[in-house]
């Protein structure tokens, strides 16, 4: 039952995300490129997000490794 509920929650979140996007799509006006440029994140921002994710992953992994080693040494 717990797993089925988890599936349903995941589907619900997906649907919510889709509904939000669909609403944005319903905004009247020309579709491309004006509305899309409003939606689209700048390329530099995409790179920044990617770099941020990698930096957090590397830092988080190093911290986690230190913690694991410290725990196993005790």
């Amino acid at each position: 039952m717990k797993r089925v509920i988890a599936c349903l929650v995941a589907l619900l979140l997906l649907c919510l995300a889709g509904t939000k996007t669909a609403r944005a799509d319903m905004i009247p006006g020309p579709r491309v490129p004006e509305r899309r440029t409003a939606w689209r994140i700048e390329t530099t921002s995409v790179y920044s997000v990617a770099a941020g994710v990698v930096a957090v992953a590397l830092a988080g992994s190093l911290v986690a490794l230190r913690m694991i080693r410290r725990r196993s040494a005790k």
Binding site: C7, L14, G18, A22, V46, A50, A51, V53, G60, S61
Partner: protein, 366 residues
């Protein structure tokens, strides 16, 4: 002490549970479907949303950063919460999400990347539990990804009609995994004596993975112009991982991983002049993959999710130059990377302590 034989304790398998080959088939099939969805999403976004070359590179970098970079963090969460099966189910659904619901390009890529990361950790942990401290199951699990990626590229280039069935297949497989008891019993605790200079050994193995990732882009075949060559590379990668896992358990991790990489060296050097030479080269190179995965898991006992994630982070680090169009092709450079890979593998695996099987069964939440 060498570990041989199946360690999984099958005494407490629930009635109706799928075990062994059936469970591995389910996880591997899901892996192929998730990777198909991801590749198809990326290509559909590019073709449908008028993305220019610069934006395409940026979106590819974002996808890889999320899909591979998030895995150590997801792995830590999965290890702490013990929800490998939940992660596999949720990841599969999320990765297929952009094919079901219209999203802007960045959101579609981000959602696919996050779903991919969550699925890989969940599925990887489930696969590793099937054959603890052995390379065969993780090898088969990771191998199907290359076939999935190829299928995704083909379907994504055909257009949105061709991928219509993919979300339904993902949904069915996720439901099967969520509802059918897939408990493979209570895996024995693998207690590993801490390796001397454990962090150094881990670093060397991750360095070997990064080097392999860098060499994986030694050739770049396009589906439109060289479909047979692309198919051959995907099949070679698939077979390399499967055969590598089987051979490593049979003949020894170090012997197979180091030997196969050395055998692949001349083929990889030839690839710049004769691209099809990359096919046997990549077959041999990928044989080390399951070994590095289980070796990392052995260094980090009881942290299989984090171990799986770290190997994927190393893959990402090795792939960064290729994402920006810089690939290793010149024979001297290929040789240098192969030597680094072989040396780090050899030293790392040499210092890897054998694990000790504990007689105490532990409860692993599914």
């Amino acid at each position: 002490m060498a570990i041989t034989g199946q360690l999984t304790d099958l005494r407490n398998v629930p009635a109706g549970a799928i075990t062994g080959a059936a469970a591995l088939s389910l996880y591997s099939l899901m892996h192929a479907v998730v990777d198909t969805c991801s590749a198809a999403t990326v290509l559909l976004v590019v073709s449908c949303d008028a993305v220019d070359a610069g934006q395409f590179v940026a979106l590819m970098v974002l996808y890889h950063a999320l899909a591979f970079g998030l895995q150590p963090l997801v792995g830590l969460a999965v290890d702490a919460a013990g929800g490998a099966r939940f992660a596999a189910v949720a990841g599969c659904l999320i990765a297929a999400g952009p094919l079901m619901i219209h999203m802007p390009p960045e959101m579609a890529i981000a959602v696919t990347g996050v779903g991919n990361a969550i699925f890989h950790v969940g599925g990887g942990v489930l696969a590793m539990r099937l054959t603890p401290d052995r390379a065969v199951a993780p090898g088969v699990f990771v191998a199907t990804g290359s076939l999935g990626l190829l299928l995704g590229v083909i379907l994504g280039k055909q257009g949105s009609t061709a991928v219509a069935l993919l979300p339904a297949i993902a949904l069915v497989l996720a439901t099967v995994l969520a509802c059918v008891p897939a408990n493979v019993g209570r895996p024995m605790a693998i207690v590993t004596k801490p390796a001397r200079r454990g962090d150094l050994v881990l670093g060397l193995i991750l360095l070997a993975i990064a080097a392999r990732s860098l060499l994986g882009f030694v050739v770049n075949f396009r589906w439109e112009t060289q479909p047979v060559a692309l198919l051959a590379v995907a099949v070679a990668t698939f077979l390399g991982k499967v055969v590598g896992g089987l051979a490593a358990d049979r003949f020894g991790w170090r012997r197979v991983a180091v030997g196969a990489t050395l055998l692949g060296w001349p083929f990889l050097c030839l690839a710049s002049a004769l691209p099809l030479a990359a096919v046997p080269g990549l077959f041999l190179l990928n044989m080390m993959m399951p070994v590095t995965l289980v070796a990392t898991a052995r260094i980090l006992p009881n942290k299989p999710g984090f171990a799986f994630g770290l190997t994927c982070l190393a893959l990402l680090v090795g792939a960064i130059p290729s994402l920006f169009g810089v690939s290793v092709k010149a024979p001297p450079l290929v040789s240098l990377v192969v030597v680094i890979s072989v040396a780090s593998l050899d030293v790392g695996l040499q210092h890897l302590r054998p694990s000790v099987r504990s007689e105490r069964a532990i409860q692993v939440p599914s």
